[in-house]
């Protein structure tokens, strides 16, 4: 009996009476079911992604030639400002929250989130905030001071657009704080009996680390934005130098959130990759504890690196050294994760036909480029040269597109059968993957050279010597745009007509697969039990002498050391059971 069968036998009821198939209109209601909310998040953020993507292609179209000939410079500035704001605050951050919403309660065997109505509220803040932001483009006064919105520039550009931007980002920040509170309480208080932290899937660890970061840093951004709003609308001079204010203070407050935001955007997808790789390469995750604790380490270190965005701004020399060192150190926990994923892939049985695994491997392969250029950017003398250039644009897109977005796609392909009860078409998933990887590298790789050679960012016109590389970038961005079509069509078609998935199409071990697809209201028939660890793949062919880590001591007792937890027993049952052996 494989571990998957053991786990299923312990949990999946012989006959599920009413799988949670919903009417389509339920997704347009103020539902409090975490699964409905999760899908609401994912679908609406994907729509924002498409809008932000169109803006990116308009920006790239302008940059195909050195002259300003496609849109006016004012519109150009609004386009990249909105592109960045949408992609960060309306796509990657809430998409992470969407997956966490859907999967987290299932993974820990809970019936729902701890605060279902707060959860619904957190989602329903997003659409109006997003629509307001996009509407600003239509009414003709869109924010155009960049997504960083540095004063004094943001105070002298259009007042209406900037006001809308501040309001919208404040709302979106509120939404993510509400979400984070919910995730943390759910994780701490709603785990099924017998699930200790070391039995949690790594996605839960990542969600925990992310939520902690959101809670600690988002309020600082909110404070900064409120002060900025006062400067803009009430004429105060917190950041306005004409009245003695200090624009650099805004930068500190902004980056105190916005650097951690990078980890808010990448940590959940580190978690996703840690789920996808073991399942689809049929091997236990390599170094469970190392990956789990490195998420917390990244979360902590992420709070003390913000000033590396200000190396050319107004901070003293010794402070630059401090932030250089903290920034560099983040490479260590990140490296641990990358090497652990490689260790997991090594010696597995890779299901390369499955798009989820392809995207996960693509994630590791492209994210590492963004990680390496991140270390380079941490080095102060080099950062002074490339700060605010296309090198930085390349770096952040390798991290956020090559990392987060590929992670989102991996998660979509991985959990789609659970969410809809139907399988996605693999062939079109592979086509989607191929176009994405080609488009991604074609768009962003040449930007490294552009930046180092002297092309600064956020410009509508540039030196003609950079024309050729910019053309490559622009055509790459068109390929990226095309790459989403197979995905969109595949999702819509498969959701309606795809082959039935069954409860556990991947033979996975984590608890979300131990219920119907899609799961019924309140998720499980009875409180689930852990019959195996979350990643105990291949235990039936364990040879004598294969080293098992101390992460799972109970497994060394042999295959089928099943039913570690009993729903009637209090939660520390595992330790007692281990002691008995």
């Amino acid at each position: 009996m494989t571990q998957a069968q053991v786990q299923e036998k312990a949990n999946i009821p012989a006959e599920i009476e009413e799988p949670g198939i919903r009417k389509w209109w339920e997704y347009f209601t103020f539902n409090t079911d975490h699964k409905v909310i999760g899908i609401q998040y994912l679908v609406s953020t994907f729509i924002f992604y498409c809008i932000g993507g169109v803006m990116a292609d308009l920006v790239r179209t302008e940059l195909r030639t050195p002259e300003v000939d496609f849109v006016t410079p004012e519109v150009y500035n609004s386009l990249f400002t909105l592109h960045a704001t949408i992609m960060i605050f309306l796509w990657i951050v809430p998409a992470g929250a969407g997956f966490t919403n859907y999967v987290l309660p299932l993974m820990i065997g809970a019936k729902d989130m701890a605060f279902p109505r707060l959860n619904a509220l957190a989602f329903w803040i997003i659409p109006p905030a997003g629509l307001m932001l996009i509407a600003s483009l239509v009414v003709g006064d869109a924010p155009d001071a960049g997504w960083t919105s540095y004063p004094p520039l943001s105070l002298v550009t259009g007042q209406v657009g900037e006001g809308i931007w501040i309001m919208s980002v404040l709302l979106l920040g509120t939404s993510s704080i509400l979400g984070a509170i919910n995730f943390i309480v759910t994780l701490l208080k709603m785990r099924a009996p017998g699930i200790g932290f070391h039995q949690l899937p790594l996605f839960c660890w990542a969600a925990f680390a992310t939520s902690a970061l959101v809670l600690l840093s988002t309020p600082v951004l909110a404070a900064g934005l409120i002060l900025l709003a006062f400067d803009l609308l009430a004429g105060t001079t917190f950041f306005n130098p004409t009245g003695g204010g200090d624009p650099v203070v805004y930068q500190h407050m902004f980056w105190f959130y916005s650097h951690p935001a990078v980890y808010i955007m990448i940590l959940p997808f580190f978690g996703v990759i840690s789920e996808v790789i073991p399942v689809h390469s049929r091997k236990p995750i390599f170094g469970y504890k190392a990956i789990a604790y490195s998420s917390l380490a990244i979360s902590f270190l992420g709070l003390i690196v913000w000033a590396h965005h200000m190396f050319t701004s107004g901070i003293p020399g010794w402070l630059r050294m401090f932030f250089m060192i903290t920034t560099m150190i983040i490479a260590v926990p990140t490296g641990i994760k990358i090497f652990s994923w490689l260790g997991t892939l090594w010696g597995g049985k890779l299901h390369l036909e499955r798009p989820a695994l392809l995207f996960a491997i693509g994630f590791v392969g492209t994210f590492v480029i963004g990680g390496i250029s991140g270390v380079m950017l941490a080095a102060v003398p080099f950062d002074i040269h490339v700060h605010d250039t296309y090198f930085v644009v390349a770096h952040l897109h390798y991290v956020l597109f090559g990392g987060s977005v590929l992670g989102i796609y991996a998660a979509f392909y991985h959990w789609f059968p659970k969410m809809t009860g139907r399988m996605l078409n693999e062939f079109w998933g592979q086509v989607h993957f191929a176009f994405t990887i080609i488009g991604l590298n074609m768009t962003f790789l040449p930007m490294h050279k552009l930046g180092m050679m002297g092309m600064n960012r956020r410009i509508a016109q540039y030196d003609p010597q950079f024309t050729f590389l910019n053309e490559i970038c622009t055509y790459g961005s068109y390929i990226l745009a095309v790459s989403t079509f197979p995905f969109i069509i595949n999702v819509i078609w498969s959701w309606m007509y795809g082959p039935k998935a069954g409860n556990n199409p991947w033979n996975a071990l984590t608890l979300e697969w131990m219920t119907a697809s899609p799961p019924a209201f309140e998720n499980f028939d009875k409180p689930p039990v852990l019959a195996t660890g979350p990643y105990d793949y291949g235990l039936e062919n364990a040879r004598e002498g294969v080293p098992l880590s101390d992460a799972e001591p109970i497994l060394s007792a042999g295959t089928n050391s099943v039913l570690r937890a009993n729903p009637d027993e209090p939660y520390p049952a595992i330790a007692a059971e281990t002691d008995e052996r």
């Binding site: 130098p241 004409t242 107004g314 010794w318 630059r320 080095a379 080099f382 080293p547 880590s549």
Partner: protein, 360 residues
């Protein structure tokens, strides 16, 4: 014959090292280096590039190898080996990146120091304002907006004021003056500096240029000769100090060939020192988003022989005197009293508001 895997590993390791070393020195990714600081930065970048190429090849190589070697064969539905971890291996791959980043940090520190960036004493030597120390909390807060006491004349403020009085500049600028904060660590206002290189510590720079950034132009003034120019001329091989500030929004002074960048922040002054090492004309780019025409905010840095520079300077002095004479001879009747008196009121320390009241 079966070659043992340890030999393969060794061979691959040697090959990787050679490729990384070669690419790290021959990447052609940076423009030519035209200042003493630039060659230091390039050395650091080449080292980071060497290490990066190695890491990149290892990760991508392992990925490609696993994809080929461990892909699932048709009909094989078994799981892989249940290897959960390997403590020595995990320690190894934690230690290696840790050592690499510490190494890069130390090297960066050294380069930064050589460039004159790291000058911890500058902060401690900055005068504490004696008033602030005696005041209760609220009063300290009230002084935050004031310029802390300083014995040095604030050249940037003067230049910025002069620029404001230029009718062409004033037309696009709001006339509110921006108080300049000088070094005052107590209130968090420290001049961002890349100072003299260690061998030139304590010596004044050979040339000082004041730079004012405004939407969308750079104004250069040479305080010793009062020459004002739209492009920067500097003699080759002499250390130059740039004092910069901005009149409206944040701009950033960047010359890619010098590998130097510094934000010009309204309300603060920033300083960088560098020594241009190659003659030529280089682009000076504003690197911080400063408005819709940010991309057009470019100027030139001309690095020339000292003789040529001296000749240029002379030419500029003659030209600026002529302009001044013309201005005085032609314009007074057309100016409003406030405009006409502006240079004088400034010298006398009279605020425009007061003048306005008196005049009425």
């Amino acid at each position: 014959m079966k070659i043992p895997s340890s030999i393969w590993t060794l061979l691959i390791g040697i090959l990787l090292t050679l490729v990384s070393l070669w690419y790290g020195q021959n990447h052609d990714l940076l423009p030519k280096a035209a200042s003493d600081e630039a060659s230091l930065v390039d050395g650091l970048f080449n080292t980071m590039m060497t290490v990066s190429v190695g890491i990149f090849l290892v990760v991508e190589g392992v990925l490609i190898y696993t994809i080929i070697k461990y892909r699932r064969r048709a009909g094989d539905d078994k799981d892989g080996l249940p290897v959960h971890g390997n403590v020595p291996l995990e320690i190894l791959w934690t230690a290696i990146p840790a050592i690499i980043v510490i190494g890069i940090s130390v090297y960066s520190f050294d380069v930064y120091n050589e460039m004159g960036g790291f000058n911890p004493h500058a902060v401690h030597e900055a005068p504490m304002t004696p008033q602030a120390m005696k005041m209760p909390g609220a009063a300290i807060a009230a002084t935050l907006t004031d310029t802390p006491a300083s014995t040095k004349p604030n050249l940037n403020q003067e230049k910025s004021d002069e620029a404001m009085q230029d009718p062409a500049t004033a037309a696009v600028r709001n006339a509110d003056q921006i108080p300049q904060k000088q070094n005052a660590p107590g209130v968090g206002s420290v001049a961002p500096t890349i100072g003299p290189t260690p061998d030139k510590e304590g010596k004044p720079p050979a040339l000082t240029v004041n730079v004012t950034g405004l939407q969308y132009a750079w104004i250069f003034t040479y305080p010793e000769t009062s020459v004002t120019s739209g492009e920067l001329h500097v003699p080759v091989g002499r250390e130059v100090q740039i004092n910069m500030t901005a009149n409206d929004v944040i701009h950033a002074f960047w010359v890619p060939e010098f590998r130097l960048k510094q934000d010009a922040i309204p309300g603060r002054q920033s300083e960088i020192r560098f020594t241009p090492s190659k003659e030529g004309t280089y682009a000076l780019i504003c690197a911080e988003l400063c408005g819709p025409y940010h991309g057009a905010m470019r100027s030139q840095v001309v690095v020339e022989k000292p003789e040529t520079f001296a000749a240029w300077m002379k030419e500029q002095q003659v030209a600026s005197n002529e302009t001044l004479n013309q201005a005085i001879a032609v314009n007074p009747a057309e100016l409003s009293p406030a405009d006409f008196l502006a240079p004088h009121t400034h010298n006398m320390g009279i605020q425009p508001e007061i003048l306005h009241q008196i005049h009425n």
